[in-house]
Symmetry: C2
Amino acid sequence: MSHYWGMTTPKISVRDVGPRDGLQACKSIMSTDAKLAWIDAMVAAGVADIEVVSFVPPAMLPQMADAAVLVPEVRARHPGLHVATLAPNLRGAQAAAAAGAHSILVPVSASEAHSLSNVRRTRAEAVAEFAKIGAWARSLTAGPQLIAGIPTSFGCSLQGEVPEAEVVALAVQLVEAGAEIVTLADTLGYAHPSQVRRLVRAVRAEIGESRMGNLHLHDTMGSALANALAGLEAGITGFDAALGGLGGCPFAPGSVGNVNTEDLVFMLESEGFDTGIDLAALIAAREVLHAGLPDEALHGRVAAAGIPRTFHPARAR
Amino acid sequence: MSHYWGMTTPKISVRDVGPRDGLQACKSIMSTDAKLAWIDAMVAAGVADIEVVSFVPPAMLPQMADAAVLVPEVRARHPGLHVATLAPNLRGAQAAAAAGAHSILVPVSASEAHSLSNVRRTRAEAVAEFAKIGAWARSLTAGPQLIAGIPTSFGCSLQGEVPEAEVVALAVQLVEAGAEIVTLADTLGYAHPSQVRRLVRAVRAEIGESRMGNLHLHDTMGSALANALAGLEAGITGFDAALGGLGGCPFAPGSVGNVNTEDLVFMLESEGFDTGIDLAALIAAREVLHAGLPDEALHGRVAAAGIPRTFHPARAR
């Protein structure tokens, strides 16, 4: 039963971005086999969408050096899975498409300072690069979905505040440049709920419901789930998250982990949203992640406390 | 500017319950001087309401043995502070009043199993004891405010689910028995946002706006701030919280810390609610708490990350 839409068991999609956003924040390099075991365990728990890797130069992020091997292997093992990727430029996007990615997220920072730090381009240069990718993507007959990600949509550690009007204008520019979907990212975890509601509504009003992508939240200030709730209220239907709360942008000082997938699924299912994910199996997948990344601390309240006996998944009602 | 009420800088009150709810969960016994230093630091940060102690038999909670000394000392040091207390029975309530408490919260659990574990009484016996306290309180000319607390309002680790109709009926019973204020407590941290909205609205509809007290949240599942947001949406105007996220009920297995005061104040102020609390000074007060309780881990995201440059207190806008 939905409290929001008055229909039976509404669905919310959850994309686990741990293998991309999580690993890029880790010093240790995870083997391809360990990544595959982690992805297998999440898929077994019902996760239907995983951002598996970033197509960046290996010298920049050696954790992602296996991108071209990983994507086809994951596709072969999990035919039902949406295999999402990230690429910072045309070259990376072409490699992602060649590897068989279902979607490619290309980040264009709302903050000029973060853009320079993250992709070594001004925002205008990043938009121009995005337009090249958009033109190339349009030329494909059955290419991957092109997603524009907007890091620092809710504020930046380098620049400070990011004017909302600039984020809205950037979203429009990126759609004009070929983005099928726009995802707003709270890279630093600075957002607060009414800001989330306001910006999501403002962007959606300009680009349209069908182009509004996942909300990407980090939990720096502890308010990620409150921001997710605000996103739901503003009509968001998908979230990025990371098992164990891994993550953080290495080019955004002060950035900490993504919103924890287990805690997000607990809240969403409690609220009556079907995520398709089995919470107990998802918590069990932490063991597989830990085995592959033994030096990283995993976070998460529900995993620490155990699933309470009052919990009922949305589909069970 | 309020997003909720359309008036200038709405206020939300925050009661720090750490010296009571926090310490009862700690094995170490804090000296009266250390408690006073902690309370002093919170008051210096602008905290205007503190639950300083519980009037229980010292054999049960030796951490609270200084109750009769602490309350008059805190009142003498901080004339502007609301000095809140807890008492489980008439004897404790009378001692709290004699010591000069401004308010006394008497818990009556919604869960029968928690009632037996927490105060060794059935729920009916606890209501009868509350009625004795109510009758006594009415007989005083200028006595303390009598608050009925309802632990396990949102679920119980011992009993499981707690029917909402029972919580509503219990709230009505407690008002009839003399409660001036009713505070709903998510003792276990099992609540989810729509449950909070629903129960707060249902209870308020029966007992009236003016009797609706603080929402008392624990962060077991990471959703305390989302639940606080839901409470705000349902008209809650005050919260219990604990500096450093201390807390947990020793008689409710699985209970973890109260919602973190620093993170709550960050979210409330970001949302445009004036808490009267200086966030930087509040974070500094953690040092004083840590000095008095060196063996306890303090939690809190904002304190760990630092206050972001995008933060503006509500009054500064």
